[in-house]
Chain length 396, copies 2
C-alpha cells in the first residue's frame, strides 16, 4: 500500500494477537483523527453475529471514529457471552483512544459458534493503538483474512475541482454459493460528503459490486460494509444531486467493484474470473435474475474449470431462472465467439474457438435473451477441486 | 431384478446402440401388453427438450403402451431437427409394435445441444422389440444411466384384498445444486387404478420423494416421471377416497422415496446420505424451505464430507432461508447427539460424539426451530472432490 493512496486523517494498525492458532495477523484497527460521517450496509441473515448487534446502533447515529476488526472467530451464535465480549472489546478500544464508545464499530469473521476469547483484545488493543500509522492499511487488510489467499485493498484519487481519496479494504473469498462467505468492507475517504448522500451512494455501489458477486439476501451472519468520510482533505462539501456527487458515486463504485472482483478472483480454489453478462432482457430485474442463475450454477462453474464450452448448461440455468424467455431466440457468446445462436449450437469450429476463450483466466459470457433492452452482470469464478478441499478442512 | 418384482403384462429390453461412445447400454424400451392408464410429471424448466415436447400431449390423453428411452444425448436445444428426430423415433417404435403413435412416450438424457443421431434408433428398435422380456427391467434401468454409478430400481408388492406390484426405474445422480441433474422415473403397476386417482397420487408422491432431493422448479430440460397402470394383475379397480387408494398411495411413495434415496446416494462423488429434518416449524412450507436451504448449502455439504460437526454453517443456512426464526431457540442434533441447544454450542465432548455420527455413511440432522409443530425433510449428500472431477470432465 503506497502512502499516496491513503486518505488524510486515517491511521491503521494490525497484529497477530493469538486468536488464530496460525500466528498470522488477526486483529486490526482503523482510526480517524476526527469523528467521521458514516453509513453502513449489514447482513440480511436472520442469524446475526454479536459484533453486528453492537455496531449497528452506533453506525445508525451517523458518526464513527474507529473500527476494530478480528479474524479467526466470527463471534456468531455465541449468545449473551458473545454480546458481552463484543461490547467489552469496543469499550477497550474507546478507552485507549479516549473517545466515546458509540464512535467505535467492531467486526469479526471466522468460525461460527465458538466463544471469542477476550485476552487477545486486552493485551492487543494497547499495542495496536501505540503502533497506529497512516501506512499500515495493508496490515489491517491482512488481519481481516480467513480463507482469503491475498489481502484486498483498492483506491482512487480525485484531482480536479476537488481533491480527495477513497480507500477500500475488504475480506472475502467467492463461493459456489456465495451464501456464507463473510464479506467485510471498510471504505474510507477524506472527502467531506453530505451524510444524506453517503446513505444513498453506499447501497447503490454495494448493489453493483458486492451484491453482484453474492446473492442478495443470502448473506453470512457477519457481513458488513462501512463507509467513513472524515473531511480531512479539506475540500468542499459534496452535496446530493450535483456533478461532484456523481463523480464521488462513480469513484466509490469503482473502488467497490475492484474489491468485489478481487473477492471473486480469490474464490476458494478459483482459477478464473468470469463476467456473466445478460443483455436483451425485459427489465433489469430479469437480467439480474438470469445472470445470477448462471453465475451460481455449480455445473456451469465446474465446466469453466474444465474449460469445457458447455453452453447447454448455461442455457438450462437461464431456463430455470424463472425469467421469461424464448429458447429459440437466445444467443450466447464467449468473449466475441458465438457458441449458440437462436438456441442452437453453431458448430464444432466455433466451439474450438470458444474453448480457447475458456483457457484464459478472465473472460465474459454474454447471453442475449432478445426480449428487451435491459442488461445486468454478475461476476463469478470456476469451481475447482481446491474449493472442496478448503471447505472440507476449514476448521481442522 | 428378480422376476417376482415385475408387474404382470410389462416387458423390457435394453441395448448398446452406439449413442454412447463407451459402448455401454444406451437405448431401452418398456412395453405393456395392453394400453395402460397413465399420468406424468414434467420439468418446470422453460427450456424444454424435444422428447418432452413430443411426449407430453400423448401422456395428457391418459393412455400409454410403450416407453422409449435413450441416454448419452438429451436431444435438448436441438431445434426443429431435434423435434423431428424425437417424432421419428417415436413412430419407429409404434410401427414395430403395431400400435398407435400416441401410445408411445420418448425420453432422452445426456449432453445438451448436440444433434441426436437417428441411425442407432433405426437399427436398434427392431432388435429391442425382438428381445422384449419380462425379466429385462434392469437392462432398461442401465440404458438410462449417464453419470449414475449404479442403476436404480425399486419395487413393492401388495398382498391383501388386492394383489398387485409396483416397479420403479429411475436415473439421476444428486448434485450440489440439483438444478440440472436430469431425473427420469418410470413407474409401472399391474394394478387397475382409476385415472383420476393416478393424477392425484403421482404428484403427491413426487413431492415427498424426488422433489425432496431436488429443488422445486429448478429442474433440468429433460425431467420426466411417468406412471403406467395396466391392470394386468386383474385385481379390483382402485377408486379415489378409499382405503385401497390410501394403501396404493403409500406403496407408490415408498417406491419413489427408495429411488430418490438411491439418487442421493449416487450423488456425483457422494459418500454419505444425510436426511435434513426440520421440526418445530410454523408450517410445512417453512419447514421445507429451511430444510432445502441447509440441504443445498455447499458449505454444509463439504463439512459433511470433511466429517466436521460444523453446526455454525447449518444454523447460518437456516438464517438465510428466509424462514421466521429466533436464533436463540434453535436446537440441532446429529442423530441423537445434540450439538447446539438454544443456538449455542454444547461443548467439546458432545462435538466429539457428533463427529462419530458424521463418520457414518448415513445419518439424520434434526433442526428444531421451536416455532410450531410442522416438519419436513430433505435428503442430501456430501460434496467431495469427486463431484468436481466428474462435472469438469463430463463432455470430454
Amino acid at each position: 500500500m503506497d502512502r499516496v493512496d491513503t486518505p488524510a486523517g486515517f491511521r491503521f494498525s494490525g497484529m497477530a494477537s493469538g486468536i488464530k492458532k496460525s500466528k498470522k495477523l488477526d486483529l486490526g484497527i482503523i482510526v480517524s483523527d476526527r469523528p467521521a460521517d458514516c453509513t453502513g450496509v449489514f447482513t440480511l441473515n436472520k442469524v446475526i453475529a454479536a459484533p453486528l448487534i453492537v455496531t449497528r446502533p452506533n453506525i445508525a447515529r451517523g458518526q464513527c471514529q474507529a473500527i476494530l476488526v478480528n479474524s479467526g472467530n466470527a463471534n456468531a451464535c455465541t449468545g449473551k457471552q458473545g454480546l458481552q465480549t463484543a461490547e467489552t472489546t469496543l469499550e477497550l478500544l474507546a478507552e485507549q483512544l479516549q473517545i466515546a464508545d458509540d464512535l467505535v464499530a467492531v467486526a469479526s469473521t471466522g468460525v461460527i459458534g465458538e466463544p471469542l476469547p477476550l485476552d487477545p483484545f486486552v493485551t492487543g488493543i494497547p499495542q495496536l493503538v501505540t503502533n497506529l500509522s497512516p501506512d499500515q492499511a495493508t496490515s489491517v487488510a491482512e488481519a481481516m483474512m480467513t480463507t482469503d489467499a491475498f489481502s484486498k485493498t483498492a483506491a482512487v484519487m480525485e484531482k480536479g475541482k476537488q481533491n480527495y481519496k477513497i480507500l477500500g479494504l475488504a475480506k472475502g473469498a467467492g463461493m459456489i454459493h456465495p451464501n456464507m462467505a463473510t464479506m467485510l468492507g471498510f471504505v474510507l475517504t477524506d472527502a467531506q460528503v453530505a451524510p444524506e448522500l453517503l446513505k444513498v451512494v453506499l447501497p447503490q455501489a454495494v448493489q453493483k459490486s458486492f451484491n453482484s458477486i453474492t446473492v442478495d439476501g443470502d448473506t453470512s451472519t457477519n457481513d458488513m460494509v462501512l463507509l467513513l468520510a472524515n473531511g480531512a482533505a479539506n475540500s468542499a462539501l459534496i452535496k446530493p444531486d450535483t456533478f461532484e456527487a456523481e463523480i464521488f458515486s462513480q469513484h466509490l463504485e469503482r473502488v467497490l467493484l475492484d474489491l468485489a472482483k478481487m473477492i471473486v478472483r480469490d474464490g476458494e480454489g478459483a482459477t478464473k474470473l468470469v463476467q456473466i453478462r445478460v443483455v436483451g432482457a425485459e427489465n433489469e430485474a430479469s437480467a439480474r435474475k438470469a445472470a445470477r442463475s448462471v453465475a451460481t450454477s455449480a455445473l456451469v462453474k465446474t465446466a469453466f474449470f474444465g474449460e469445457d464450452a458447455n453452453w447447454g448448461r448455461i442455457i438450462a440455468a437461464v431456463g430455470y431462472s424463472g425469467v421469461n424467455i424464448d429458447q429459440n431466440r437466445i444467443d450466447i457468446n464467449f468473449d466475441q465467439v458465438p457458441v449458440a445462436v437462436n438456441g442452437l449450437a453453431v458448430g464444432a469450429k466455433r466451439e474450438a474457438e470458444a474453448t480457447r476463450v475458456l483457457q484464459q483466466d478472465e473472460f465474459v459470457v454474454t447471453i442475449d435473451l432478445h426480449q428487451g433492452k435491459a442488461e445486468s452482470s454478475y461476476y463469478t469464478s470456476d469451481l475447482s477441486y481446491e474449493y472442496v478441499k478448503i471447505n472440507a478442512d476449514y476448521r481442522t
